[in-house]
């Protein structure tokens, strides 16, 4: 049973928008979420990463008040989800990993339908609907049937829907899944705009480099357990990931490679067809210092290319491909 919480369901602006402590969820015999704890301060974009079946959607569904059999404490704006789900619903905008289509409604009717479901006053509905349509750049599609929209437009419409009641917290489950590159970029830009508006966002995705661009913090989850969380830099530091620097040197031979191996902070040097890959312990030597050291050895540098820190590497290192 979740911990008892006697307080009234009044949202507090000082509390973290999301506070999850020791969350456990069971689906029959399957222990889907095993003691996850997350805290998301106001205005933060939290990326949830994990393989299929890791427990991302389940955790999001708990926050969306759609799952009852959990233990632990889950709060949104200081309001306990288990005790006051109705109050929590007012503060969240939930976008599932599928697009629910009402084939008989057009875009205007679809948004007015959900505006009424969120109890927005009848007089305000038109203004609110027009605003969210403008924000998502769908004003010109207002009369179109929902099921005739492209997948990218449907995702934008879904975002418009979750913004109708101006929630503090957006729960976005795989919003870029199945989109073509253009639609994906459009959704990413829209999410950036929402971040600038001060919305707190919890987003799950498989497209790791997109989360890297968007999120202020990341949580990596596998078989229901949180394996790492923090800012990207913190995760890389935790993993002690080595930076790879690709260089092309004029007249590089075995002697040069041996010289490079001797530089402090270099852990490995590999001669490739047209370049040399240098693995660098960044906590011991910065990339700029490596460049300085190569010049100091009297080497003529044709190309110097540090490899970007790779979320995929971090993900693969942290997870083992297990499922609950």
């Amino acid at each position: 049973m979740p911990d008892p919480d006697p307080e009234e369901p009044a949202p507090t602006k000082t509390a973290p928008v999301v506070s999850i402590e020791n969350l456990h969820v069971h689906y029959g015999p399957v222990h889907a979420v095993q003691g996850i704890s997350i805290e998301i301060p106001r205005g933060e974009v939290y990326g949830f990463i994990g393989p299929n079946g890791a427990g991302k959607s389940t955790t999001i569904k708990v926050l969306a008040t759609l799952i009852g059999n959990f233990t632990g404490t889950v709060q949104v704006n200081g309001v306990n989800v288990a005790r006051h789900p109705q109050a929590v619903r007012e503060q969240i905008g939930y976008m599932p990993d599928f697009f629910g289509v009402y084939e008989d409604l057009n875009v205007r009717e679809y948004l007015h339908f959900f505006a009424a479901a969120y109890r927005i006053a009848r007089k305000q509905r038109k203004t609110v609907v027009d605003d969210v349509l403008e924000l998502t750049d769908l004003t010109h599609k207002i009369g179109d049937q929902v099921d005739a929209l492209s997948r990218g437009m449907k995702q934008r419409l879904a975002l418009a829907r979750v913004l109708l009641h101006d929630p503090d917290l957006l729960l976005l489950d795989e919003p870029a899944s199945g989109l073509d590159p253009r639609a994906r970029i459009e959704v990413r830009e829209l999410l950036k705009a929402l971040t600038e508006m001060g919305k707190t966002i919890l987003i799950s995705s498989h497209i790791l480099h997109e989360l890297a661009h968007l999120c202020t913090r990341i949580g990596i989850i596998e078989t229901g357990e949180m394996v790492a969380q923090g800012s990207l830099e913190e995760i890389y530091h935790q993993l002690r990931l080595m930076r790879v620097v690709h260089v092309q040197l004029i007249g590089a031979d075995e002697t040069v490679i041996e010289q490079i191996r001797g530089i402090e902070g270099v852990s490995n040097v590999e001669a490739q067809v047209d370049r040399i890959a240098i693995q660098l312990r960044e906590d011991e030597k910065a990339v700029e210092d490596l460049h300085q050291a190569l010049v100091g050895l009297g080497l003529r540098i044709h190309m110097f290319q540090p490899e970007a820190m790779d979320m995929e590497t971090a993900f693969m290192k942290l997870t083992e491909g297990r499922t609950a």
Partner: protein, 609 residues
């Protein structure tokens, strides 16, 4: 290059049988089938043994009659159960997107079709085996020849193959199990008279006499005839039943490939659009295009789900409800008006038959609509969106039900029409002889008749007022609990068929005698009323017509019956609303948290059957 020899593995059949054996539903259906078969056989055998008197020797030779009854029951069972069992053979693969994977394997299309057919026939044959003890009992009483026994077994196996082939063909053609289900029963009903006429025409030609097909159909209503004369007669029926089965399989083979990727369509919507075209054409022809009620769709008010159910759904909008009403009311009114001038028993008989048909139609429409209320949200993946909104679960269910309420009001009209006509018929059709004035005098007389026979009319009206909502809440509840709409629909129809329609079916042809027997024992009557909602309808239709019961007696039964069923309706409604959060798989609103397991789809674990 070495030659690849065909290997006899039947992988698809093996998979089908393993899947079926792993389902609880298989054993439930088998138990249900066995229970119904043995119950009905017991009832039929008892009647035969009672009629043969108390002398044990007189029972000898009655086996032939019993054998025929068992074969008839199994024949009925095949017609009722097998289409439902077999119609999902191919559509289930289409719905799971696995048919194309099967088609690219080394299994040829015909092999797939054949293995699917066998996969559905095996459980049906196991149902046929259930009657072995009954057949043994009948055989032991004597009168059954070996040829008759062989003929019976061959005929039942043939009917199974014929029906299963038809269902598999429909399954190959259709995109969803629901449409294959409807298609199989419809095609089966349409082809049935031709089979009967064909079978009897061939049999008659074989025996050398002339035949009037219409008379044949009227005299005997099955295409199978057990023979005691010649094995050649069996072969004729093999041709009559087997040849269409071969054709069905051939067509199924063609459809399997050509319609493997068929896109799902909303058949109800298509049907109503066709109906739209017809009504617009009719309106243009008769009024020059005058439209009295325009579809003026407003944006949702404060009850968005009610708005969608009544403004956007096919069976909820005023326009389509008027169409449904006109489609039922017009032919009904014409038939009742035509029989008004006929003999007393004839007109009452026709009205009663019309009542049963309209009841069946009303229950079917309400069931289909009510089961789809929540299950369609689930299949369209929109339920979670509603559940994450600010609306309470109670509101969601109440607003969802509004669409069915409108449909029930519309369906109540033809039922009330029949009740008015029946009251008027029972009073001797007063006002009919008034010529043109009858347009005014007949409705007044009908109303006066209804008031005079207030006991009958009250019981009839209460049956509509209580049974239709009860049916809608049962369907809604099963719709919430079930994973798919098709399953919910089949479960509800099966439940209502067994609970409400089976007693009416058993009573066909001898309703009046049964009602007389029942009314002799008031406690038994009350018990029967509480067991099945159709009992009071049968009593009301027959007792009032034949003056079998006193007014006070009928009022007493009416009071007890409708109090009980009214309480059941109210209780079920309150229970659904009180447990709305849990039923819909959502955290209970502002109450102490209670754990209850759910599936990964968000469906409460208790709902998964």
């Amino acid at each position: 290059m070495s030659r690849r020899w065909p290997q006899l593995g039947l992988p698809l059949l093996t998979k089908e049988l393993i899947e079926q054996s792993a389902r609880r539903r298989t054993y439930f259906v088998r138990l249900l089938y066995a229970s119904l078969l043995f119950l009905l056989a017991y009832w039929q055998f008892s009647a035969i043994l009672t009629s043969s008197g108390s002398n044990n020797l007189a029972m000898l030779g009655t086996g032939a009659d019993m054998f025929n009854r068992v074969v008839e029951l199994q024949f009925l069972g095949i017609l009722l159960f097998l289409p439902a069992l077999a119609c999902g053979a191919i559509t289930s693969e289409k719905e799971r997107n696995s048919l194309t994977m099967l088609l690219v394997t080394r299994l040829g299309p015909f092999t797939i079709l054949l293995e699917k057919l066998l996969g559905r026939l095996v459980p049906m044959f196991s149902f046929l085996l259930l009657s072995l003890p009954l057949l043994a009992f009948a055989y032991s009483l004597g009168g059954v020849s070996t040829l008759e026994l062989v003929s019976g077994i061959v005929m039942l196996v043939l009917v199974c193959i014929h029906v299963a082939a038809l269902a598999v063909m429909c399954s190959s053609w259709c995109s969803s199990t629901a449409s294959a289900f409807v298609g199989t029963y419809t095609l089966g009903l349409l082809s049935y008279p031709f089979l009967v006429i064909g079978a009897h025409a061939l049999l008659d030609r074989f025996s050398g006499g002339g035949i009037n097909p219409a008379l044949t159909f009227a005299n005997t209503t099955t295409p199978i005839q057990l023979t005691t004369e010649s094995p050649a007669r069996i072969w004729i029926q093999v041709v009559v039943l087997g040849l269409p089965a071969v054709v069905y399989m051939g067509l199924g083979r063609v459809f399997l490939v050509s319609r493997a990727q068929v896109v799902r369509q909303n058949l109800v919507l298509r049907f109503f659009r066709q109906l739209d075209h017809f009504f617009f054409w009719l309106n243009d022809l008769t009024t020059g295009g005058v439209i009295l009620i325009r579809d003026d769709v407003q944006l949702p008010d404060d009850s968005p789900i009610t708005w969608r159910e009544t403004q956007k759904k096919t069976l909820g909008t005023t326009r389509y409800l008027v169409r449904v009403l006109v489609s039922i009311e017009t032919p009904l009114f014409l038939v009742l008006a035509i029989v008004a001038g006929m003999a007393f028993q004839t007109r009452l008989g026709v009205a009663a038959e019309a009542l049963y048909i309209v009841w069946a139609l009303a229950v079917l429409l309400v069931t289909v609509h009510a089961t789809s209320l929540v299950s369609s949200e689930r299949s369209h993946q929109t339920l979670d969106l509603l559940l994450a909104s600010s609306m309470s679960s109670r509101e969601i269910i109440q607003q969802k039900h509004q669409g069915v309420r409108r449909l029930m009001f519309v369906l109540a009209v033809p039922l009330l029409t029949i009740f008015l006509f029946e009251s008027w018929f029972a009073m001797g059709t007063p006002g009919l002889e008034d010529g043109l004035l009858a347009v005014i005098t007949v409705p007044v007389a009908a109303l006066r008749s209804a008031i005079q026979q207030y006991d009958y009319f009250l019981c009839a009206v209460l049956s509509v007022v209580i049974y239709l909502p009860l049916c809608s809440w049962i369907a809604l509840w099963i719709g919430i609990k079930s994973k798919s709409q098709v399953r919910a629909m089949l479960l509800t129809l099966l439940l209502l068929f067994g609970w409400a329609f089976l007693p009416a079916l058993i009573a066909i042809g001898q309703t009046e005698q049964m009602v007389v027997q029942l009314l002799r024992y008031p406690p038994l009557t009350v018990f029967a009323c509480l067991c099945s909602p159709s009992v009071i309808v049968l009593i009301n239709e027959n007792a009032a017509a034949a003056n079998l019961a006193e007014t006070s007696q009928l009022m007493w039964y009416t009071g007890v019956n409708f109090t009980a069923y009214g309480l059941a309706w109210w209780g079920l409604r309150q229970w659904c609303l009180a447990r709305a959060d849990r039923l819909l798989g959502r955290l209970a609103a502002d109450t102490h948290h209670e754990s209850h397991p759910v599936t990964s789809a968000g469906l409460p674990l208790e709902n998964v059957s």
